[in-house]
Symmetry: C2
Subunit: 191 residues, 2 copies
DNA sequence: AAAGTCACTTAATGTAGGTTAAGAAATTAT
DNA sequence: ATAATTTCTTAACCTACATTAAGTGACTTT
């Protein structure tokens, strides 16, 4: 069974016909590392489900500083929610960090699927609820924890990512500069 | 027409029967300022839609420092998403800041409504999508803007709230101490 | 109206994390 | 393999914001 179907089946159950219909609306694509799937200023027309590999979304501040909004590895969805929904120009980049196999679901097909398989409203509602919860927690963590504590939490929560992701991007995700992150890390090791 | 029905009608259309059914599942309540609707450590059993007045959700760090997650005034929904969804103990408080009139939707009734009016899946999906987008933006702002810039953005986005909410809670929302906020504000006025 | 609490201000001092810069190590490209 | 680019480290110095503390005014409570 395709990972994306497994992913959906964890939350709602699809009939074989619905599965087929769903699969007809997505497209499997392969991307090389460093491919930019979406740039700031563009309108996001599709969402991505990662079969294998690793993507990230980030923005760039004052044309200099990158801030990572999210990573997505196997079994995760990624997109620019703001732009995808509003169909206005967003300010996120979506980049492939490792050679990846990805299911592409266009905005258009997603809307059609909502009509053809109303159950999918439920699936995506729950998917987004979970995303919101994670985001709220991250927000509160940024307000109340030190960089060290945030890093520890990140390690516990995403042990695989810590191995795969370049260190400067973990720094960006938890909200510190690469220089400070490096200093902090070596300080933590010394304990 | 009840504000909560207006709120829903902006996104989906309900038949008169569906409206009646929906209304039968919510309860209008009146709360005095300072009422605590939910405490940290409790399981959140209901969501709130504000007809009038003002609520907030926040957590408390190390039994000392409060961090405001969100405000909700007229026309806004509020709840502890994490606890509401997982039915586990959350760490948020929900407090009434001004005497308020509120529509209460229990978790139980909400689940029933999803079955009886599947369109509501769509409504809440979109509601939560918007909430996620706002959260993501706030997260990125916290990573990339100064306190001053965050405050300016807050003022533009929520001009009514700036008038109503105690200053120390705006400070908490944008992520600084009340002391620093006070200093910052007087510095901004001097310009 | 007095007393107490709470919200806000101001100021001195402290610190987590930023900036700049330069070199070392690791990847990538030729 | 070598050069080129990128990532990581270290260190000196800097700043946005936190902490502590003390004082003022406003709102509650009795």
């Amino acid at each position: 069974m395709k990972p994306i179907i497994q992913n959906i089946s964890k939350i709602i159950s699809l009939t074989p016909e619905e599965e087929t219909l769903f699969l007809s609306k997505i497209e499997t694509k392969y991307f090389k590392a460093k491919t930019i799937l979406l740039s700031s200023g563009e309108i996001c027309k599709e969402g991505y489900f990662v079969n294998s590999g690793l993507l990230r979304s980030f923005n760039i501040n004052d044309n200099i500083v990158e801030h990572v909004l999210s990573f997505a590895c196997e079994g995760w969805w990624i997109g620019d929610m703001y732009s995808l929904l509003s169909q206005k120009r967003g300010n996120l980049f979506i980049e492939v960090l490792e050679d990846s196999e990805v299911e592409v679901l266009s905005k258009e097909n997603q809307e059609q699927l909502y009509l053809e398989i109303p159950k999918l409203e439920r699936f995506f509602r729950i998917l987004i609820e979970n995303s919101l919860i994670a985001n709220q927690e991250r927000l509160m963590d940024n307000l109340s924890l030190t960089a060290e504590e945030r890093f520890e939490k990140f390690c516990k929560k995403h042990p695989t990512l810590v191995q795969k992701v370049p260190q400067k991007q973990i720094a960006s995700f938890i909200g510190v500069t690469p220089e400070f992150f490096s200093k902090m890390k070596s300080k933590m090791l010394r304990k």
